[in-house]
Amino acid sequence: MEDLWRIRQRKQMTVTQLSGRAGIPARLIQEYEAGNKPISMENLEKLARALFVDVTAIKPLSTPIPPELAAGPSRPPREPPAPGERPSPGERLAPSAPPKVARPPRPAAQEAKPPVPARESQVKHLLMLAERFGLSQSDLERETGKPLAELTRPEASRALKQLQERIATEHPHRAKKRRPYLPESVDSFELEYLQKQQQGAATVAFTLFNGTKMTGQIVGFGPYNITIKTDQGEVTLNKLAIAYYRPVEKEGQSV
């Protein structure tokens, strides 16, 4: 487990960037990093997703970020050389800052970029939504006023919006339908299970990919491995190598 600020800095993200990605106010992230408050489970999951790490990789309560690191990945402003100090080569070439040159005006409208064609996914989505209303591709093309292959990205986006609004009006129950919550972004269930087995000093039988079987008590675990104490000593199993495992009764019978 690591401090939030340490992971963020390793990923070369600013607090603002992390805030944007995770959808958590920057001020709250700063409080988490300062160790002023523990990270709630909900926000821990959001942060883990945004940082692309496992939820168990982040310490729920950070040790305060050292002041010298709090500035983030941006470079601090360069101080002027002290009297008698040799200026750097760049400074010797440019003893005084050059006057700011006004930025050239933006290119005229006629140099605007050509329209971007619609994404394949947008066209697929359009066809899928049209199908709900019994519209064929040619019906859809009549509505959009051009072949789907010639739609630009904004045009496809507008057409999608119109169809979605139509669904919301005509089939409000469908528009409100939500996907089921799938706990795919967290490893918490397995980690909670392992913690319970470790605390209960349970003996667990592991079956590996190659058919090897190992039995022992869990003495430690992380997102990627489990360490067990066997008769021969401690063994760390890479989770990738594990097919399945189950607790074993004292008499040697699986439960």
């Binding site: 089921p180 799938l182 967290v186 269930f189 397995e190 990919f209 399945y244």
Partner: protein
Amino acid sequence: MSLGDYMRYLRAMHGGESTADIAKAVGIPTPWPINEIEQRYREVGSDELVAKLADYYGVPVEDLLWRRKLSRKKLSEFLDEASKKGQKARLFLRTGERLEGTLQWFDLGALALNLADGSGQVIIQRHIVDSWEIA
């Protein structure tokens, strides 16, 4: 089995090296594209990278490419539905075993099944599950 789960399986069979080691071996600067393939649910990974990985693992590139169309969510959706309806799930593992039972929980890496034969609970790593059906 989705491309992500299959890649984890291949990595396991290849000695369980880290994705950073694989990135170095296939000549890409960071392991993130490989991590993404293993962990994300949508279709990720360029054809070029998938071809490099197929070459690295010594498997046909087609075997990886068709799996890219499979979403990791398919297994999750199946498990979710089976769990809500109280149906028994039958899982076919890459070890050749077949396990049947009621789902207790599942997450990103594993699932817990209460075995139908009454022999207790087993925790199965997701990347060992090859296919599934309602029992």
